[in-house]
Symmetry: C2
Subunit: 323 residues, 2 copies
Amino acid sequence: MTRSERPVAEVTAAVTAGDLRTAARLISRIEARDEAVGPIVRSLYAQGTDRRVIGITGPPGAGKSTIVDQLIALWRKRNERVAVLAVDPSSPTSGGAILGDRVRMTRHNTDPNVFIRSMSARGQLGGLSSATGDALIVLSAMGFDRILVETVGTGQNEIDILNHADTVIVVQTPANGDAVQAMKSGLLEIADVFVVNKADTPGADRMVALLRESVEFSGRSHGPDDWIIPVLKTQASAEIGIAEIDSAIQTHTRYLDSHPDYDAARRRKRVRTLLMERLAELLRSRYDGDARQASVFEEQLNAVLARRCDPHTAARHLLDSAR
Amino acid sequence: MTRSERPVAEVTAAVTAGDLRTAARLISRIEARDEAVGPIVRSLYAQGTDRRVIGITGPPGAGKSTIVDQLIALWRKRNERVAVLAVDPSSPTSGGAILGDRVRMTRHNTDPNVFIRSMSARGQLGGLSSATGDALIVLSAMGFDRILVETVGTGQNEIDILNHADTVIVVQTPANGDAVQAMKSGLLEIADVFVVNKADTPGADRMVALLRESVEFSGRSHGPDDWIIPVLKTQASAEIGIAEIDSAIQTHTRYLDSHPDYDAARRRKRVRTLLMERLAELLRSRYDGDARQASVFEEQLNAVLARRCDPHTAARHLLDSAR
C-alpha cells in the first residue's frame, strides 16, 4: 500500500493529532488537485471548528516575508503554534518560484511548532483559491494557534486567495506611491489593516498620510461600529513596528468577536464566492472526464469556431445540458 | 426611444459601417455587462470574419503604451485603420485608472482612423475576459486592419485576456531581471515575441541573453516548424526598434497563415477556455437572477456555514440541480 492509499480515517486522525509530515503530504496532493483527497478534506471539515485566518498581501519587495518572519518570532515567544501558507497566484507555469523559496528559507524551518508551506498554480488552470481553502481546512484541523496566508499583489487572483482570511493586512512601501494612488479604492476594499513598511525610506510619511486620508475620505466603515482601518509604520528588517501589527490583528479579531452578525455576514459572503469557484471547477472537470459531456462540449465548440453559434449562446446550451 | 433601445439591426449596421460613436457606446455597455447587448454581439459575430488580434503585455512602466503609440504611428503611415483595446484586469474597484488614462492621452486621439478604448473590471466580479472577447467581436466587425489588445502584467487574469490574441508580445525592461528569472517558463508559455525595451539602460544585453537562453534551453517549439520566439531590443521613447516589432508581428502572422492546422488548434484551445469562462459566468448570473435557483443556493450555503456539508459536496449538489 502506497502512502497515498492510507485509509481516510488514518490520515484524518494523523492530521488532527498534528502530524506535520502527513499534513505536508496532504497539502502537496491538494496542490496537485488529487481528487482522492476529497473524502479526507470533507472529514476534516466536518470535524473542524473555524480558526481565524490572517491574510497578508502587498507588491513584490514590500517586505511581506520579513514581516511574516518577525510575526512568527513574536508568536513563538508566546509559545503559540504557527502555520503559514504562502500562495503564489502568478503565472501557472512559474512553479511558485517567486514566493516559495523566500519563505522556505526562514530561520523557523527547524522549529517543530512552525509549519510553513508554499503553494502555487503549478501548471493547473484555476482552482488555486479552492486549493487554498482545502489547505486551510487541513491547517485548521491541526489546531494551530495562528494561521497566516501570504500572497503577492492585489489583483483579482490575490483577492480570491484573501477571501479565505478573516483579517487582511495590506503592506505597501513609500516606493509604491503611484500604484497606491491609482488603486486606492481597491485597497480599501480588501484591507483591514494597512502597513507602510520601509518607513525609513523617503516618502514614508506622505504614504501614511495618503492612506489615512483615503480611509477617512472614504468614510470606510468596514463594520457596524465603524472599523477604521489603522495605518501602521514599520521597518520590519530592524524589527520596528511588528508588535503594533500583532496588536492590530488582535484588535480586529476582538472587533469580529464582539460583532457576531457582521462577522457571520462577512463569512457568508466569502463562502458564497467559494461555492461559485467550486462550481466553475466542477463544470470544467466534468467536460474533461465524462465522455458524453465531452462530446456535447465539442459540438458547441465546433459551432462557435464555424460561427454557426456565438460563445454566449453556446455556453447557454451547455449549461442547459449539464447534469 | 433612448439610444440604448435602438433596434439590433440598426446598431449592427452602424457598427459594420464603422460608426465610431455607436461602437464606443456599445463597448461601454459591454464593459458594464449590459445583457441587452447580447443580440447585437451575436449578430455581429455571425456576420463577421476572424481578424488577427495582436496582444501586448508586460509589467507597469515597461513602456507598453509608448510602444503601442509608435506602432499606431507606423501603421497609420501605411494608411492602415487601427483599433486598440486597453484592458485593466487589476482590482475590480480601481476603475481602470492605471492603464486607461495613459492610453487615452495619446496623440492619435483626434485621428478618425484610430480607435482607442480602455476597459476595466469596474466593480464587476469576473467576466472581464468575456467582455474583452465581446469588444473584440465589435472591433472585428468594424473592419479594422490592425486590432491590438493591451494589458498589464502576466498573472492569470492577464493570460485570460491574452487568450483573445493570435500574436502575443511580452515587453520587459532590464530592471525586471529578477521577475523574469523567476517567471521564465510562464513567459515562454504566453509569448510569441519578446521585447526588451529601454535597451539603453544597464543590463539590457544581459536581459536579452537571459531571454534568448530561456528560449533555446526550453527548446520552445510553439508550432510544427519550431517558431523560435524572437527577442527584440527597443528604445520606444526614441523610436528605436519599432519597425522590428512590426516586422516580427508580420512574420508571426505569416507563420500562422502557412500552418493552418496549428493556427486552428491554437484557436480551438482558446475558444475552449472562453466557453468555460462564459459557463461560469452564466452559472453565477443564474443564482443571482432566478428565485428558485437562488433558494437552492442559499440552502447549500447554509449547510456549508453550519459544517453540515463541505464546499465541494455543496457545489456538486448545486451543479446537479442547475437547469
